[in-house]
Amino acid sequence: MADDTAVDTAEDAREEEHKVVPPWDEVAAALVAAFDGAIFHDSHGQPVVYVPREHWAAAALHLRDVERFTTCLDICAVDHLTDADRITVDGVTPERFEIVANFLSHPRNRRIRLIAQVPATDTTIAAVTPIYPGVNLAERETFDLYGITFDGHPDLTRILMPDDWEGHPLRKDDAPARVPVTFKGDPGPR
């Protein structure tokens, strides 16, 4: 795959590995071996592991303590309610919500991405904040905008929207301009 925007320096070596073993990334391979139901996926040259929801926090802990991933860069959600097309990975049951976490290991200079499927009927997942305190605001944002509940988060409140807001604006069924724009003191139509 010709991809010169790849950020990893050891890409050539991995390309060769890729042809031999499906999980060419050793961190991903370790995750797949350690957790039941974890699936490796090569997403445009980036290692991605689909982790079952129940192993979410354990996988993050494994990355921190065993694999020396120093930072959880980001946690966000994706709503797949209205997707025309969607990447399907063998062995992963697609659900409406996906929780995506990007990890970076500074000492090893590599990245990995974990994705968990969260059904619309039970939008809860374990919080990563107790493991990586840096995603505190990110998990609050995901809760605010998608209504995903992070079990074990110390302060799960709305962050970007007002506290009395109803609904979760980044969900696909929360239509834009659902709330009409109003101006205080507007004299109204004459």
Binding site: T5, L73, R86, V100, N102, R111, Y132, L160, L170, P176
Partner: protein
Amino acid sequence: MADEIETIDVDEELPPPSDGEVDDEVDDGLVDAGDFDAYREDTAEYDRLAAQTDEGAQLLTQHSEIVVTGGPWPELEGESQTMIINMGPQHPSTHGVLRIMMELDGETVVRAKPVIGYLHTGMEKTAEQLTYVQGGTNVTRMDYASPIANEIVFAMAVERLLDVEVPERAQWMRMLLAELSRMASHLLFQATNGMDLGAVSMMLFGWREREETLRVLEKITGLRMNHNFVRPGGLAADLPDGWEDACLDLCDIVERGIGEYDELLTANPIWLERMVGVGVITTEEALALGASGPILRSTGFAWDLRKTQPYLAYDQVDFDVIYTENGDCFDRYRIRLHEIAESMKIVRQCVERMPSGDYRVQDKKVTPPPRARIDESMEALIHHFKLFTEGFRVPAGETYVAVESPRGEIGCYLVSDGTGKPARMHIRGPSFYNLQSMQPMIKDRMVADGVAIVSSVDPIMGEVDR
């Protein structure tokens, strides 16, 4: 009526008793009784005035005799109580609309919690309504102090999903623009940081050089800010005539400018007093809290994506990663000051070594036909029209791309569902995460240090709230 005017005149002409200003006619310089005598003719009026004056003095005495009742406040004795105050959202040092809830013990900050969302405009939702061509107009408004970094990260994410390789000249042009943008951003920091700490002339100096930088960006992209110049597949236009001279002149101006800042601030005792040892953060704290950019580098950890995970053509240019070891506000100031010089190094190398070639990929899927073709070919016109109304389709997939913005790692997580608009576009704003690193910095410091700390984190609220 006339009497009233007279009395007012009297009042004004009486010289203050202890004033050194002496009337020519009076030698002793004391209260000139003569003037009083002249008005003593009008006895009744004088008495009224004198009485009033006396009465006023007594009134003042009466005021001063107000007795403060009550003993010492029992709550303040023994175990100290904390108090919560808000800094912001309308405080000038909060760089926009950041509100910090600070729990204070006396004047010492026990805890601080940033409260955000005042600038939330739903840009990630907006991104789902815009085509990939229009997306740049959206992301460029997030970190408005360094818009090019946002545009580059978005364009790189789209290109990765499209599997499109950008020509070499486009990569160098992007690098040039990114470094100009970094210079503008860090110059803005020098201005606001100085202003926050009371060095108001720094505000003017910083703004002066920043404006020159924006002038060059305007010459290249057409706009001072929010350029929307970096597009998926390349750039909007080629470099204009005379860009080399504009960039070199700018480097000379800014070089002189940062020399002035250095002279004015770096050894200034007041500046050192406010900055050195204030807002200290360790490498472990910074990494755990997801801090990146100058905050991480100030702790002695030389991490810069331009070096560690090179993108564009950063592996072909010569520059240094600036880092310091104390992790305080002064170090973050010094890092940004020296990074301006490193960016100028890269700009000069870009001028010297800018490769020739195309500024955008000649892939008909993403690139509109050239203007000349539109005049002579109906197909080219249709192609152009469709590209700018419907946009192009991006194959289903997901990717995360990160680049080094002036504030740290800016990332774009992009999910495509195979249509012409992203299914999800998430920006990992460095300011959003850097704000959290304020907590260990501000703990056990004075309230006044909070201003220096917020300033040295340099958050851009457009990127925090998106």
